[in-house]
């Protein structure tokens, strides 16, 4: 964003200063502001990012100073031949494919309902956003309890006593796909408010006059949504889509706390964490991290290109 905007005119030049000793001081001034933060940023973010790639190409020894032989792409071949890693990618893919469209559809629906001078609008908005600000740890434990295997668990009791679609309580976390019902339910419940809020912000920016003009021309509610609102919020939709897909593939805390990756429920990050901090296979863990990042970046780039292309048509 900033790269394309012309920089603010150099203050000194605008004030009519000639290059003198004081302007040399002004070339140092920006660094006094930037360096303290940038050094921390470089040490904590940039160096580890490069180091992830480096470590993934070695059989990394955890003993400081010990030899860590270079093994090229071996860790990557190992990952893509490891059924556990493939399973974890499929799980993350399923989680994303289920949670993203539902969050976007319901989020957009709620935003449309709230996009009016409705009494109580702020209250609804605050309540819908509540799950988003609650910590992942708390909501993961809460959903573990809601989906507990006992007949008195909230989910089981809903299925058995209220909806009558099951006779026996389900042990949700003992099976890969029933575990994902719980994990996806949590993902949707927690994320809804976020997409709603962004859609609401985008809808608020649509000029009222456009809707009034369309209504005068006899457009019904659906036509006004389709032809007035939707084109105006297209970039918000694209942004939410891309960010939710990134978030979906990076799901971690909920899976770690709800199943710990048992019963084939690993996602790439829980598997990376296990390889790193349980088996201390740092090289392999780094290869998983780096593969995931590349896959997600590739997906984002594709989505970006695809939405650009769609907008042009």
């Amino acid at each position: 964003m900033t790269a394309t905007v012309p920089p603010v005119p150099r203050a000194a030049a605008a004030a009519g200063w000639k290059p003198t000793a004081s302007s040399r001081r002004s070339t140092l001034a920006p660094w006094a502001f930037i360096l303290p933060g940038f050094i921390i940023y470089a040490v904590v973010m940039l160096y580890p990012a490069v180091q992830t790639l480096n470590m993934s190409l070695h059989e990394w020894s955890i003993v400081p100073g010990a030899d860590s032989p270079w093994i090229g792409l071996d860790n990557y071949f190992r990952a893509f031949n490891d059924p556990e890693f493939i399973t974890s990618l499929v799980n993350a893919g399923v989680y994303t494919a289920v949670t993203v469209p539902i969050q976007m559809a319901i989020g957009l629906g709620l935003a449309l309902l709230l996009n009016d001078h409705l009494p109580g609008r702020t209250l609804f908005r605050v309540l819908f956003y509540l799950p988003v600000v609650t910590s992942w740890v708390v909501v993961s434990l809460l959903f573990q309890f809601i989906f507990s295997s006992s007949a008195e668990g909230l989910a089981n009791s809903l299925l058995i006593d209220v909806l009558h679609v099951a006779d026996e309580p389900t042990s949700f976390f003992l099976n890969r796909w029933t575990a994902y019902i719980a994990i996806c339910a949590l993902g949707i419940w927690k994320g809804l408010g976020w997409s709603m809020l962004i859609f609401l912000a985008a809808l608020t920016a649509v000029p009222k006059e456009l809707h009034e003009a369309a209504a005068l021309d006899g457009a019904n509610a659906w036509q006004r949504f389709r032809n007035v609102s939707l084109p105006a919020i297209r970039s918000a939709v694209a942004t939410v889509f891309i960010l939710l897909v990134i978030g979906g593939f990076n799901v971690f805390i909920s899976v770690m706390l709800m199943t710990g990756g048992e019963n084939d429920t690993h996602v790439p990050l829980t598997m990376m964490y296990e390889q790193g901090f349980r088996f201390f296979d740092f090289g392999y863990g780094s290869a998983i991290s780096f593969s995931l990042t590349i896959i997600v970046l590739g997906l984002s780039a594709f989505q970006y290109w695809w939405t650009k292309r769609k907008t042009k048509l």
Partner: protein, 273 residues
Amino acid sequence: MLIVRAVRYTILTIATVILVYPFIFMVSVSFRSRSTSLGNPFEIMPSEPTLNNYERVLNEENFGLYAFNSAFVAIVSTFLIVLLSSMMAFGLTRFQFKGRRIVMTAIIAGLTIPTMMLIIPQFLLARDLQLLNSLPGLIPFYVGTALGFNTFLLCGFFEGIPAELDEAMIIDGAGAWRRYFNLALPLAKPALATTVIFAFLGTWDEFAWALTVINDEKQRTLPIAIALFQGQHSTSWGLVFAASLLALIPVLIVYIVFQRFFVAGIASGALKS
């Protein structure tokens, strides 16, 4: 028109019930005794409500210490994040200099990296810097990982401040620091409020990194304490939820007081928690 409005409210109310019910359920269970915590899940008022869980959390489980630890880390980190990211944004938007583009690119590139991906090399870095198992040792990592996003957010805001204001202050003889404190910061107040909120919530709730580097029970923050609670007292859900709800209080206060900034911040920056 009336019917449309009625339908609207009906749908919104149903959505509210579904979205809020888990919280109500959590509150309800936190007031139940251990033997009745798995009672009828649709019975909101517990038959024999008890404060026992809250008493135990506050008296026996070191909750005060963990809350203090979390507050310490969150407040110091938030202060540093706001200070350093506003300084970086000021330096990047109010000056024209060699290397500006490189710094900007490094920051934008960092935005595409999920923090979790870095956890293994960060762990080794913390080990080499002797920051493992230390509460203050969390701070540089919390600050470093939050700086990129917040600097980016503030850059967008600082760019909107007209250059004429800088020039006027320069003619009056104001140095860079005075322009930073007396011009940029006061004008950027709404954006700074957003930064404060996100930085505070992010560090107060942070789990994965603290879990990885903190071993000592005395150095734990609330999220790890709560997750481990559940491991130790897996049948005492009332206890776990009482602790969770207490940990939620500061979040709710910050959220409700500043909720209008949430909208502005999210609309301008688009952040996924």
